[in-house]
């Protein structure tokens, strides 16, 4: 039986029209999904933890599906990222359980998503904030899509909880002009270029 115990879900959706420069025709849109769940390993050292990844898979898919809906469909999504905050009675390693279920949930829904999903994780108290990195879904070196989104909730993660996060974006930074590999020039074979 699944040990997944969900207390809260939260979604953030941003439309960025400009940042002081000329406004592009299409605003940049970013969205984040947060799930606050009980940490089944809180308060003790548990050597065998990998089984919990199975329980996280449906949650990851549910969060990723909602993000795709918020951003208007898989075809619009060009960037992604993921993260975890572990409450103080847990261990950083527990947050690492989110890598596979969180990342593969997004890649399952997005075409041409060969790039590794960038991530951040930390142990935090209630009200903790996490900067979740974002990179291009098909080529990690695309410089225009390096971005991040700050997330957090005033009432989470409690000591025995984890906050699991997925993030997606629809394009480059709003006034992207720092050069590097452009999205139109990628080969999309190795996930890097």
């Amino acid at each position: 039986m699944s040990k997944l115990n969900l207390r809260k879900t939260a979604y953030s959706f941003e439309e960025i029209f400009h940042e002081g420069g000329p406004a592009p025709a299409n605003p940049l849109r970013r969205a984040a999904a947060l799930a606050i769940i009980e940490n089944p390993f809180a308060g003790r050292y548990e050597p065998d933890i990998q089984w919990f990844m199975e329980d996280l898979k449906p949650l990851g898919l549910q969060m990723a599906t909602r993000l795709v809906e918020l951003l208007g469909g898989a075809d619009h999504i060009e960037g992604y990222g993921k993260g975890a905050m572990v409450g103080e009675a847990g261990e950083l390693e527990h947050g690492a359980l989110w890598h596979a279920p969180g990342g593969y949930a997004m890649r399952e829904l997005l075409n041409d998503s060969n790039a590794i999903v960038p991530s951040s994780k930390k142990v935090a108290g209630v009200g903790g904030r996490l900067d979740v990195p974002i990179t291009h879904i098909n080529a990690s070196y695309v410089r225009s899509h390096f971005d991040s989104m700050e997330v957090g909730l005033n009432d989470a993660p409690k000591a025995n909880e984890m906050a699991l996060v997925l993030v997606m974006s629809t394009g480059p930074r709003i006034h992207d002009r720092a050069g590097g590999l452009a999205a139109k020039d990628i080969k999309g074979e190795d996930g890097l270029r």
């Binding site: 207390r7 959706f13 941003e14 960025i16 029209f17 005033n154």
Partner: protein
């Protein structure tokens, strides 16, 4: 649109359990926030009517964003609130001009009826500061189960010449209300109070 909007953010919170008890259906709150240029940054302006007009526009726009985010019809909205945070080159009165004279009527159209006063808060602030938006029942201010609030913050706003304007809407009260008072089902919602 008179408002020069740099960005809009919408947050949704769904509470599925509280103190180990299942909340079914989950209580849900949404807050929509617009970051706008403050047309009166760095100068004293006697006539604030342009900001009042901006308030009317944002009342409709942000109210609608909340309803859409919750995926509900206007009559399913149960509580609401509004707030503004003014960047350091502005004046607290600028928040009052956005929030009070003209925002209410267009917001009430989006949530249907809205007989009650829209509870509000305002402050001066800087990027990353927290704005707590108060929540109260939209038709009967005395409904005790719906006194609540939702926090919103953006790491990059308000910049010195900006104003952050927020509207919050819910389709429910607190997760486990049990401090008595007037209830949602007993409210008549005619005078805005009971």
């Amino acid at each position: 649109m008179n408002a020069k909007i740099r960005k809009i953010a919408v947050n949704i919170e769904e509470t599925h359990q509280e103190m180990g008890r299942k909340i079914d259906p989950a209580t849900r709150k949404a807050v929509a926030v617009a970051v706008i240029e403050n047309p009166f940054a760095n100068s004293y302006q006697e006539d604030l009517s342009p900001l009042m007009d901006i308030g009317a526009e944002l009342g409709a726009l942000l109210g609608r964003k909340c309803i859409e985010a919750l995926g509900i019809t206007p009559e399913q909205a149960e509580s609401y609130g509004k707030s503004a945070m003014v960047g350091e080159n502005g004046e607290l009165e600028h928040a009052a001009a956005v929030l009070h004279p003209k925002m209410g009527a267009p917001l009430r159209k989006e949530v249907e009826k809205g007989a009650a006063l829209v509870p509000s808060s305002k402050k001066m602030g800087s990027p990353g500061q927290v704005l707590d938006v108060p929540l109260g029942h939209k038709d009967a201010a005395y409904v005790r189960s719906h006194f609540d609030g939702i926090e919103v913050r953006l790491n990059d706003a308000p910049r010195a010449n900006e104003i952050m304007v927020a509207i919050a809407v819910t389709d429910s009260g607190r997760p486990l209300p049990r401090v008595g008072g007037l209830t949602h089902t007993d409210a008549t919602g005619k005078d805005g109070l009971r």
